[in-house]
C-alpha cells in the first residue's frame, strides 16, 4: 500500500477523485433563496422547496451550504444534501430532520413558512455526485436517503436504463422519508418496528449480498450516506461483500 508512487503527485486509489468538476464561482457565491413550499415527510422530517432563480444547476448527490442570520448579525451555516433532481430548474428541495435542540433545523421546523428568505451557496463537492452514467448501488439511512433520492428522481425523470438499486434503512415505516416514492429498485430495512410479517433489524450482509447480485459489466459504483455510525457499518459490509474500496463513495452527515 505504501508503494512509492511514480509521478509528481502520489498515485491515488481514488481513480476518479471527483465525478465532475465543481464550478468555483457557484460554490463561492451566496444566493438568495425563497421558501415556496413545505411538505411533511415523516413526524421528524419535512421537505423545504426553494426558488433560487440564479441556481447554476447541480448533479444528483451534491450538497449545498445554507445560512441564517439573526438580528444582531450572528450567522449559522450548515450543509444540506439536495433532494431534488437537476431538471427542476430554478428550484432546489432540501429534506431536513428536526434535530433535538438544533439551531438551523429547529428554525426550519418551527418558524419557517413560505415566503421566508435564506441564503445558499453551491452546489458543492463533485465526489458524491452521480451524473447518471455508471450502474450505482445506493445505501442510505434516515435523512441519508436525501442525496440518493435525487439520483432516483433523476433516473426516473430521464428514463435512464443504467442499473440503479437503493437500500434504505429507517427506524420504522412512519419514519421512512419519501415512503410513497420508492419503486422496484428499492429495498427497505426497518430497525425498530415494521409492519406485520416484515423483519426488524439493521442492514446486514444478506441485504448487501442481494444488492450486489448480478453485477453489470464494469461493476457497481456504491454511494453510502447517513450518520457516521451507519456509514462505517454499511461500508464495511460492502467491502466484506467484495465491493472495491475505491468504488465506494461515502457522505457522512457527522
Amino acid at each position: 500500500m505504501s508503494d512509492a508512487p511514480a509521478g509528481p503527485a502520489p498515485a491515488t486509489r481514488f481513480a476518479v477523485p471527483g465525478r465532475i468538476a465543481v464550478s468555483n464561482r457557484a460554490a463561492g457565491t451566496w444566493q438568495r433563496a425563497t421558501l415556496t413550499e413545505i411538505r411533511r415527510e415523516t413526524p421528524h422530517a419535512a421537505t423545504f422547496r426553494f426558488a433560487v432563480p440564479a441556481w447554476a444547476g447541480h448533479l444528483p448527490g451534491q450538497h449545498l451550504m445554507l445560512r441564517l442570520r439573526a438580528e444582531d448579525g450572528y450567522v449559522a451555516q450548515r450543509h444540506y444534501s439536495i433532494a431534488s433532481p437537476p431538471d427542476d430548474e430554478g428550484h432546489v428541495e432540501l429534506t431536513l430532520d428536526h434535530v433535538d435542540g438544533g439551531e438551523v433545523s429547529g428554525w426550519f421546523h418551527t418558524v419557517a413558512k413560505p415566503g421566508d428568505e435564506v441564503e445558499l451557496r453551491g452546489p458543492l463537492s463533485g465526489f458524491f455526485a452521480w451524473p447518471g452514467d455508471r450502474p450505482a448501488l445506493l445505501i442510505g439511512a434516515g435523512s441519508g436517503v436525501v442525496p440518493l433520492m435525487s439520483m432516483i428522481r433523476h433516473h426516473r425523470a430521464r428514463n435512464l436504463t443504467v442499473p440503479l438499486r437503493l437500500l434504505v434503512s429507517a427506524r420504522g415505516p412512519e419514519e421512512l422519508i419519501y415512503a410513497s416514492e420508492y419503486g422496484a429498485e428499492t429495498t427497505t430495512v426497518f430497525t425498530r418496528s415494521a409492519p406485520e410479517g416484515v423483519a426488524v433489524g439493521r442492514v446486514a450482509a444478506a441485504h448487501v449480498a442481494r444488492l450486489l447480485a448480478d453485477p453489470p459489466e464494469g461493476g457497481w459504483e456504491a454511494y453510502v450516506c447517513g450518520s457516521n455510525g451507519f456509514a462505517e457499518h454499511a461500508s464495511r459490509l460492502l467491502v466484506a461483500a467484495g465491493q472495491p474500496v475505491d468504488r465506494i463513495r461515502i457522505e457522512r452527515f457527522g
Binding site: A9, N24, A27, A76, V245
Partner: protein, 201 residues
C-alpha cells in the same frame, strides 16, 4: 445578507478562539472522511518523506516512535463548521522527520498522502516550524481508526481536511498541486481565520 425572519440562534457565548462561521462541537467529534475507514495495523503502517529531499526516508511504526515525542494541545477547526477546543494529540513533530530527510532548497509545497490514496496539498511553510505533527494518540488513548489511526498528520492552524488521516507520506514539490478536496472545489490553503473554505474565498 438580510436578517432571517424569526431566527434568533443559540444564546451567544463570546469565544475569541472561534474562527468566523464556526461553532463549538464540545464533546462531539464528527467523522467526515469520504472513503472507507481502512483496516491498517500499526505493524503495517509506514511514513515516508520523498520528492525534493536530500534523502528519501521511510519510517516504520517503531522507528517513528523512537523519534523525540511531541504533542499538540489546542483547538481544531473543520470546514463543515465545527471546532473543538482543548484537544491533545501526541506523536512526533513533522520537523523531526523533515530534518532527517533534508528538504531541497527549491521545495516550496508538499502533498500529504494517505494509505487510502487520499491527498491534500500544503505550502511547505505550513508544515515546518513546530506547526505540524504525525500523531498516534488522542487524549491518552490510541488514535481511533475512524479518526485516522494508527497515525495521521495534524496541521491544526488550517482546516482539518489538511490533516490527512492514515498518513503514508509527505512529498515535497517545487509547485502547488491540488489534492483530493482541493480538486473538488475546496480552498488550496484553508486558513480558518480567513474563512478559506472553497476556492475563491
Amino acid at each position: 445578507m438580510n436578517v432571517t425572519r424569526g431566527f434568533a440562534g443559540r444564546p451567544r457565548v463570546r469565544n475569541d478562539g472561534l474562527p468566523p462561521g464556526q461553532y463549538d462541537a464540545r464533546d462531539d467529534w464528527p467523522v467526515l472522511s469520504a472513503e472507507v475507514t481502512p483496516e491498517l495495523a500499526a505493524s503495517e503502517w509506514t511514513f515516508t518523506v520523498d520528492g525534493l529531499v536530500a534523502e528519501e526516508r521511510t519510517w516504520t511504526w517503531d522507528e517513528a516512535h523512537a523519534l523525540p515525542p511531541s504533542a499538540y494541545e489546542g483547538d481544531i477547526h473543520c470546514v463543515t463548521s465545527w471546532s473543538k477546543f482543548g484537544v491533545r494529540f501526541a506523536g512526533v513533530s513533522l520537523d523531526a522527520f523533515l530534518d532527517l530527510a533534508r528538504p531541497a532548497a527549491e521545495a516550496t509545497h508538499a502533498v500529504a498522502y494517505s494509505h487510502t490514496g487520499y491527498t491534500t496539498n500544503l505550502p511547505l511553510a505550513d508544515l515546518t516550524g513546530g506547526r505540524a505533527w504525525i500523531v498516534w494518540e488522542y487524549g491518552d488513548e490510541p488514535l481511533p481508526a475512524e479518526h485516522g489511526g494508527p497515525a495521521r498528520l495534524i496541521v491544526p492552524h488550517l482546516y482539518f481536511w489538511k490533516s490527512a488521516k492514515w498518513i503514508a507520506g509527505i512529498r515535497l514539490l517545487d509547485h502547488d498541486e491540488p489534492g483530493f478536496w482541493e480538486q473538488n472545489g475546496y480552498h488550496h490553503r484553508g486558513d480558518p481565520w480567513e474563512e478559506q473554505r472553497y476556492s475563491g474565498d
